[in-house]
Amino acid sequence: MVSRTTVLGVVLRTFVASFLLALAVVVIYPLLWMVLNGFKTNSELFGNPFALPVQFTWENYAKAWNRGVSSYLMTSILVTVTSTIATVFISAWAAYGLTRMHIPFSRTVLALILGGLMLAPAVALIPLVKMFQALGLYNTFWALLILYVAFRIPFTTFLIRAYMVDLPLEIDEAAAVDGAGKARAFWSIVLPMCKPILVSSVILNVLFTWNEYLFAMVFTSGGDLQTLPIGLTNLMSKHGTEYPVVFAGMTIAAVPVILLFFLTQKYFVKGLADGVGK
């Protein structure tokens, strides 16, 4: 017998399922549109926006690549790799010092490092520009590297420290018994044991650096060195009439991070869970 509640349940379930599906379409369609527009000609673009490209050629993608996207991509990779490595190591050292060493005023030190989480980068912007101009680092790779590392240390230290706190102290003692110094214990025992949180930290830092806009815009927009987010807006203003090339450039910028997300989804979710939901 079909009761009233089951009928209601089926109706409700269908309604929820269609809502979730519709939302997925709203999310995916603009992205699909972006990729497809990279294959269209300018006149196709101004025709029916829902139409498929007449033929799939890589012409626009090649044009975007040759008009700067390749160099933006290289800069983004360079900045991302160097700042991520530096951030993760410096944060891991700090986390180790904070969890395993006797440091005078360690509470103050901890508060200073984690307190950085509360500060908006925009607040420091004007003095930082003056400072980097005085240091002769304005419009250089070093400005971005230093700023990304300095502003990401609090969050990364927060993640790694929370993980290290839970590692039993006995493992360090065992190392000490074996005659290993603190440095040895860090490199050969504690750091390898932190691998899961290190992987998550790396992914979160890569996502941040790859997409960062404010510092990249202010500190490199006048030079030759530009990361993808800045380069894309330039591509738009310089070749504004050739929209398909802009769409191709956007796709080239988006694909690596989407791939990274799908390839590392497991670690990424775990990292978020460890870091935020603990």
Partner: protein
């Protein structure tokens, strides 16, 4: 820099040294070594985060003479100018609108959504939807902003094309080109880009709830809607509190998408605090005034963060 601020910095961090190594002599020898581990982090933060922050306060009571090249003390003049600047108030309103809409979509919507997804029967669909919803958060706000610049574009954009397609021609308009719609169009894009991230976080929080609690509720004949309010909502309260803070704080630091989509226009109608700071500082070289705007952002974001700390600490005591 969205960031979980949950762990109160005063939580005793350093596990005390094991008893065997706490003798005075050993400790004295260890001291400088301990500092060496935290020194790089402290130096970088001190020089490039805390120092400029303090300098900003100093800058905000100065006026720069760009032609003579000097600067002079002007007291609170920059702040007085701020109070009388209609664009500043417009920006503050826009940031507040951002905060309100984001709270609705990225906190309350994002809490409801995974609960709905978990209700689906097919595990494959659940996993696919979770991944799909997150994709916009992986691409940058720059790409998302540029993309929606085109979505909203009156001639080639899909939004107007869609409206025409369903017979709502009267609603088609230049979304980013009008004072009345520009900031709302930007805010809408931001929800599209950001809801997946908070949905993922809430999904993690919900999966942590012991399944027996749901089972027990079901056995007691509690329906899915009441289960949501009686089990899911109370047991994800921590995450909800955190997301409220992160979302609020982020809403007052918006820059990227506004810059890419409207640059604050038309006629300054979509300015937010950081874009206005940028315009004043780098467009007009009025560094003192820009620093005063920065101080307002500092006070707002720090206030929100301290509120969070106070709440977390109180809860910890309660437990």
């Amino acid at each position: 820099m969205s960031a979980p601020l949950r762990t109160a910095p005063n939580r005793t961090a350093a596990a005390p040294l094991p008893p065997s190594t706490t003798e005075a002599g050993v400790r004295r020898r260890r001291r400088p070594r301990g500092w060496a581990w935290v020194a790089p982090a402290l130096l970088l933060l001190g020089a490039f985060v805390y120092l400029p922050l303090l300098q900003n306060l100093q800058y905000s009571v100065m006026k720069w003479d760009i032609y003579a090249g000097g600067s002079s003390f002007v007291g609170l003049a920059n702040y007085e100018k701020l109070v009388g600047d209609p664009v500043f108030w417009r920006a503050l309103f826009n940031n507040s609108a951002y905060a309100a809409v984001s709270l609705l979509c990225q906190v309350f919507g994002a809490l409801l959504l995974p609960a709905l997804v978990e209700g689906l029967r097919s595990e494959r669909w659940r996993r696919a939807l979770r991944a799909i919803y997150f994709v916009p958060s992986a691409i940058s706000l720059t790409v998302a902003g540029l993309l929606f610049y085109f979505v909203y574009e009156p001639e080639l954009g899909i939004l107007n094309a869609l409206l025409r397609g369903v017979g709502l021609d009267s609603l088609t308009q230049a979304w980013l080109g009008q004072e009345g719609t520009a900031i709302w169009a930007v805010i809408a894009m931001s929800q599209w880009q950001g809801f997946g991230y908070s949905t993922l976080l809430f999904a993690i929080a919900i999966q942590r709830i012991p399944q027996d609690l749901f089972d027990a509720a079901s056995l007691d004949g509690v329906g899915p809607i009441r289960r949501f309010f009686q089990v899911t909502v109370p047991l994800t309260r921590e995450m909800t509190g955190l997301m409220i803070i992160v979302t609020l704080s982020g809403a007052f630091q918006v820059f990227n998408e506004v810059m890419v989509m409207t640059s604050g226009g038309p006629n300054n109608s979509s300015q937010v605090l950081v874009t206005w700071l940028y315009r004043m500082g780098f467009g007009r070289n009025d560094f003192g005034y820009a620093a005063a705007i920065a101080t307002v952002i500092f006070v707002l974001t720090l206030g929100i963060a301290l509120l969070q700390l106070a709440i977390t600490r109180k809860r910890r005591v309660e437990w």
